[in-house]
Symmetry: C2
C-alpha cells in the first residue's frame, strides 16, 4: 500500500502521541518481540533481499556496494541482537534533569521527553532499518525511514516485520513507516515536511549529508565526515605516538574517526617519520607531506593544499610539520571537520591547551581517535556522530534522541 508523504506524516504524529507515554517495559517488550520475529521470518527477509541483489547485479553495482546491501542469516541475527541490546538499555524518557523552586513559589522542572517524529535518510544498508527504528523507538519517537532505492525490497520486508511486531504488542505500527517512493522528488518533499517531522538525521556518506543539509527545512543533525588529526608534540613518547597513529590510521580505514592527517613537531620529525613509514609499510599506507616532512623521510610524496582538508577513507595519510603547538592548533582548527582530534604529549600545559583550544566534537590526549563511538563511550548504542554544534555533538546515543520540556507546578501564580 502506498501512502502520500502527507499521510505518512499524519500517521507518525498520531503514533507519536501514544509513544510519548509508553512505559519502558512495553517498549522493551516490542523490541524483544521484533527481534524474535526478524529471526523467525529470516526466509521472508532473505527472499526480499534476493530481489534487491538481483537488481543490483543487473545494474552492475560495485561488489563493495552489493556486499553492503546483502542480508544473510548471520546479519539478520545481528539485527535482532541489536534490538535486544537496545531493550536492555535504560529508558532515557521521563528523567527530571532539574527542579527548582522560584521565589514566587513556582516549582520549575526540566524533564526529558521524546523528540517526536524523527526522519532518517540513509543509503542502501538494510541493517539501518531495524537499528534506526530500535533507537528512535526506545527513546519514545515515531520514525519515518527513507532508505536507498537499491534496498527497497529488503527495507519493505524488514519494516513490515517491525510493524507486525508492534501490532502484536498493541502498539501503533505507525511507530515505524517506510517511504516506499524512492524518487528524488519525494525525498526532497520529505526534507521539507516540517509540519510532521521534528528532526532529520542523514546516515551515510558526505554526499548524502551535504544534500540533506542543503535541501532540508526540517532541522537536521549533521553526522559523519571526519578529517581527524593526530598531533605529535615535541615531548611525545614516540613509541606511544606510533601505536596511536597506526591504530587510528589502519585499524579500519573507511570510518569517520580514522586518522587522516598527522601533524608533527619539527623537532621530532626526524626521529618519528622514518619509523612511522616503516610501521605503515606493511599496510602500504601512502604518506603525503610538506617539504620538511619529506626531508625527514624520503618515502613521503609531496602533499598539495587539497590534502590538508581531505577525508581519504583510504590508506593515505597527510603529514604536516609545525614549529609548535600554536601552529598545530591553528592548522587543525583550520582544516578539521569538527570530529575527533588527538595530541600525543608528555607536557601538562600543552595537553591542557590542546583540550581547550581545539574546536571539535572529541579532543583526545594520548589516545586513538578511533574511540569516538557511542559504544566506546559507554552509551550502549549509537545513531551517528554529530559534527554540528547544535543539539548534540559527538556520538549520539538514546539521550540525544530526546528533547526536554519544562513542567511547572503552581498554586495560582499570576504575573
Amino acid at each position: 500500500m502506498e501512502f502520500t508523504l502527507e499521510q505518512i506524516g499524519r500517521n507518525a504524529k498520531a503514533a507519536e502521541a501514544a509513544l510519548r507515554i509508553l512505559p519502558a517495559n512495553q517498549k522493551n517488550h516490542v523490541l524483544e518481540t521484533a527481534a524474535g520475529m526478524l529471526e523467525e521470518q529470516a526466509r521472508r527477509l532473505l527472499q526480499a533481499n534476493a530481489e534487491d541483489k538481483k537488481a543490483a547485479e543487473e545494474n552492475q553495482m560495485a561488489p563493495a556496494l552489493i556486499d553492503r546491501l546483502l542480508l544473510t542469516e548471520d546479519r539478520i541475527s545481528q539485527m535482532a541482537e541489536g534490538l535486544r541490546q537496545i531493550a536492555g538499555l535504560d529508558d532515557p524518557v521521563g528523567e527530571v534533569l532539574s527542579m527548582k523552586e522560584r521565589p514566587n513559589g513556582l516549582l520549575i522542572g526540566q524533564k526529558r521527553v521524546p523528540l517526536g517524529v524523527i526522519g532518517i535518510i540513509y543509503e542502501s544498508r538494510p541493517n539501518v532499518t531495524a537499528d534506526a527504528f530500535g533507537l528512535c523507538f526506545k527513546a519514545g519517537n515515531a520514525v519515518i525511514l527513507r532508505g536507498g532505492k537499491d534496498a527497497i525490497h529488503s527495507n519493505q520486508a524488514i519494516t513490515q516485520v517491525l510493524r507486525e511486531a508492534l501490532a502484536s504488542c498493541n502498539v501503533p505500527p505507525d511507530a515505524v513507516q517506510l517511504v516506499t517512493d524512492t524518487s528524488r522528488k519525494t525525498a526532497e518533499a520529505f526534507m521539507k515536511l516540517n509540519q510532521y517531522v521534528d528532526v532529520l538525521i542523514p546516515r551515510g556518506g558526505a554526499g548524502l549529508i551535504q544534500t540533506v543539509v542543503e535541501q532540508a527545512t526540517v532541522p537536521v543533525i549533521e553526522t559523519g565526515t571526519g578529517n581527524c588529526h593526530i598531533y605529535v608534540d615535541e615531548s611525545a613518547d614516540l613509541s606511544m605516538a606510533l601505536d596511536i597513529i597506526c591504530n587510528a590510521k589502519t585499524q579500519r580505514i573507511g570510518v569517520c574517526n580514522a586518522c587522516e592527517s598527522l601533524v608533527v613537531h619539527e623537532k621530532v620529525k626526524d626521529a618519528l617519520l622514518p619509523m612511522l613509514a616503516q610501521r605503515l609499510a606493511p599496510k602500504q599506507v601512502e604518506l603525503r607531506g610538506d617539504d620538511k616532512s619529506r626531508e625527514a623521510c624520503s618515502s613521503i610524496v609531496p602533499a598539495t593544499e587539497e590534502d590538508w582538508g581531505k577525508e581519504y577513507l583510504d590508506y593515505i595519510l597527510s603529514v604536516k610539520t609545525v614549529a609548535g603547538i600554536d601552529e598545530a592548533i591553528a592548522h587543525i582548527n583550520r582544516y578539521n571537520t569538527g570530529h575527533s582530534e588527538a595530541i600525543v604529549t608528555k607536557d601538562y600545559d600543552n595537553s591542557r591547551k590542546f583540550l581547550e583550544e581545539i574546536d571539535a566534537a572529541a579532543v583526545y590526549v594520548n589516545a586513538s581517535t578511533r574511540f569516538t563511538d557511542g559504544f566506546e563511550f559507554g552509551f550502549g548504542a549509537e545513531i551517528g556522530i554529530s559534527t554540528q554544534k547544535l543539539h548534540a555533538r559527538g556520538p549520539m546515543g538514546l539521550k540525544e534522541l530526546t528533547s526536554t520540556k519544562y513542567i511547572i507546578y503552581g498554586n495560582g501564580q499570576v504575573r
Copy 2:
C-alpha cells in the same frame, strides 16, 4: 566600510578562536565598558536614530512601529543596564558536565563550550543589537547581526560603539559585526552561510521566523509563536481559574506566552463563562466560542475552525468546551504551537496526566502561561523562547547559547 558576507564570515571565525578561550573576567570587563560607552555616546546614538525616525516618518510607518524603532536616553540606559546584568551572570563556558572513567582507563568528560558563530536576524528594534551581542558574547560566541533596514543607522551606531568597546579592551572587535547590506538577496545568502555560521536565531514575528526556517541551510533555532491554551478542569478552583485566565490573556497581549484559547470542561462552563465575560469586559476582550460555550454565555460570538489555531496577539480569546481531560489534551496537542499550556485543576491524576501528555515547551499546573520567560525562570537573561525540540526548548538563556565537546584523557589507548 562595506564587507562582503564571505569576509564577515571569515572575520567572525577569526574572532571566535579568541573568544572561545577568553576568561570570564575579561568578558565582563568588555560588557561593563560597552555599557559605559553606550551611555557616554548617547548623543551619537540618538543622532543616528533620528535619521531612521525621519525616514520612517517619510515612509509613513505605523506609529507602533516607529515607537519600536525609537531610541531615547532612557532606552539607551536600559540597553546599558542590560549589558551590566549580563556581566553579572555566571559564565556558562568551561563547566564540565560529567566525567567518567571507562573500563579501558580512558577518562571521558563532557565540557560546555561556545556554539561558535551565531547569526541573529531581527526586525527594526535597535535594542536587540546590544542585547543579542551581550548574550552571545558572554557565552563566548562571535555574533553576526542582521537587523531590519528601517533601523540601519541606529544599528550601525550601536555596533560601532560595541566594537570600540571591544577594541579598547584588546578583544577582537569582530566579536560583533553588522550586515549593513539590508537587501533581501544578502539576507538569503546570510541564511546559507554554513561555512561560517553555526546557528541562526531569528527574533521577531511569525513571518520573519517562517522565512528563516524555509530559506536557511544554517541550523536554525525557531523561536516565538505561541498559541497558548488554558484548560479549566471540572475540579478547578474557579476563582483561581479566573485570575489565571485574565492574567494570561490581558496582562500583555502582544507576547508569545499570552493565552489565546480557553478550553473548558462542560460541567463548569455555566459557572465559569458568564463570570469570565464579566471579568474581561473592562478590557473589551472578544470571546469566540463553540456552540456549547455560547449556550453558557450569550456574549460569546461564534468561533470558526480557523480560530482554534490562531495566535491573536490581541484582545480576543477563543473558547472550546470539552467533555473531559482527554478531549482537552487532544484539542491542545492538535492546535498548539508547542509553546506554553496550562491546566487549572484540583485533581491529582489530571494534573499528572496533563503534565505528561501535553506536547509543549512549558506545561503548567495552576499558574499563568505568562511565566514562560528567561527572567521568570531564573536564567537572568533570555535570547528568545524556542518552540522547536532540537537543542533548546522553552526560554533560552546563556546555557542555550553553548554547545559541548568531549574531552578525553588517555595514556596510550588504542582499539
